[in-house]
Subunit: 130 residues, 5 copies
């Protein structure tokens, strides 16, 4: 008789993955002209490396934390695209659902001339499966 089929996934099934981004924008006197749209410079991925690779595949950039064993955790992966909803959809296709999100921000710098303020924020979205 044939051998039993392999398990559906060779890696762990359950776990948490957090995706986030750090935004920044310069706000000066022309604040009113500031574009109103969300700006995502880079989507970071935190969690077990095997899960991140399973979910994001070729769209995952591991260059900032290379050669990480599959059972280890990372907080230095990021994605090759910048659309958060694309990341959410890939997570949903892999069976993950969003549990919570949070955001924190502050103004970071005021030049002597009072012209510029840089507003940085960090927003993250926590997903789990299983």
């Amino acid at each position: 008789s044939p051998p039993p089929p392999p398990p559906l996934s060779p890696g762990p099934r359950s776990g948490y993955i957090t995706v986030g981004y750090r935004g920044s924008s310069t706000i000066g006197r022309d604040c009113q002209a500031d574009a109103k749209f969300r700006r995502v410079a880079r989507i970071t991925v935190c969690g077990k490396t095997a899960l991140a690779k399973e979910v994001f595949g070729e769209t995952l950039n591991e260059s900032r934390d290379p050669d990480r064993p599959p059972e280890r955790y990372t907080s230095r992966y990021y994605l090759k695209f910048n659309f958060l909803e694309q990341a959410f959809d890939l997570l949903a296709e892999a069976g993950f659902h969003m549990l919570a999100c949070s955001s924190t921000g502050t103004c970071a710098y005021a030049s002597d001339q009072g012209e510029d303020k840089i507003w940085t924020s960090y927003t993250e979205y926590v997903f789990s499966r299983g």
Copy 2:
């Protein structure tokens, strides 16, 4: 025999849509007189373009990201109305439910005369279907 009926939706059924707004208000010495009501200048829509069009239809303004293929993602659509709950209700009618929301804010500018501060915030609401 008749052909089988077409699928219920020509586009993807599942996915994430995020709606958000960036608020700003000038706060000076007359802070106490500042109106207490929420001010939404523009509701932005992020996600797969086909989903956004399905949900918001004629109320969607695509002028800042035109000619986007249906399977691509956008973060530059916005709505022609300014009531968040109207957007939520349209999302609910299309089968989406809210998963989470987050908000971040900071003061952005102080003039030399100390008269004005501009407080900007960004609040977003994450929805999914399927």
Copy 3:
């Protein structure tokens, strides 16, 4: 035979209602003496006007957005009481449940004498039914 009974609700059953408040407090050198309790100056109500009226009834103040048709949306209603949990309980009695909340805050003003800072915040709670 008697006519059939009217539908349970003359208005729409499903929908979103958001309640929120903008807080402010003066923080000076006597910060340690500042009371620790939540201060809610005014609870605002956003959503479809018919839903808001159904939920809050006589406790709803419509003076800032009068004569609004029942199918229109408002963000300028507010409540005649200042206890958030009373608003939550009225929403629960009408079949609404809380989905999410978010909060954002910043310091708003520094006088020349450096005595005072006014801290403003905006917190909102999103409810839905159906």
Copy 4:
């Protein structure tokens, strides 16, 4: 035959309770040495007074809002202990579950000598039953 047993609870069964705390900390040049642990000076309790008394019993301090009728609301009760999870566990034992939490913070004061900043925050956790 004997009379039917009284209802399980003499007070209302359903309702919302919000617990929160206002934190503050002085942050100077020795910021790096600042302890990393959460500091909760006082846990406040908001909601219907009968519910708060049922859940927290002897651990409730009502001195800032005494003689409140059971069907009235309060935002000035607080707890005699300072562990948030102890409050959460008492709420869970009484059948309440957490719906959402939010947090807001800002720096509140800079002395002329630039030595001190006081960071205040307000964090709250919303629970419901029924």
Copy 5:
């Protein structure tokens, strides 16, 4: 006949555990060069001591709140590792699920030379079981 099996857990089954971290980063003119990745210096653990020990075992550092009885609460435990998702996964393995998270942040210090700002934030994740 054999003795009855012991209860599934010698300690309490239900309860809340909150994990959090206080982040800080120096933001100067080179803000653009600032790394985009989440930095977690220390993960703190709050809740009943017996639950924390059951979930985190050998990875729990109790040195800042030693000799705490099992039924008491602590807010001064922390973890020996710095990956939030590893903490989330351990909590999930013990039957806990995330209920909510919140985050608050502010700029904390500006030197006289205007070179540095230290941005501190506190983010926490609330879990429960049972």
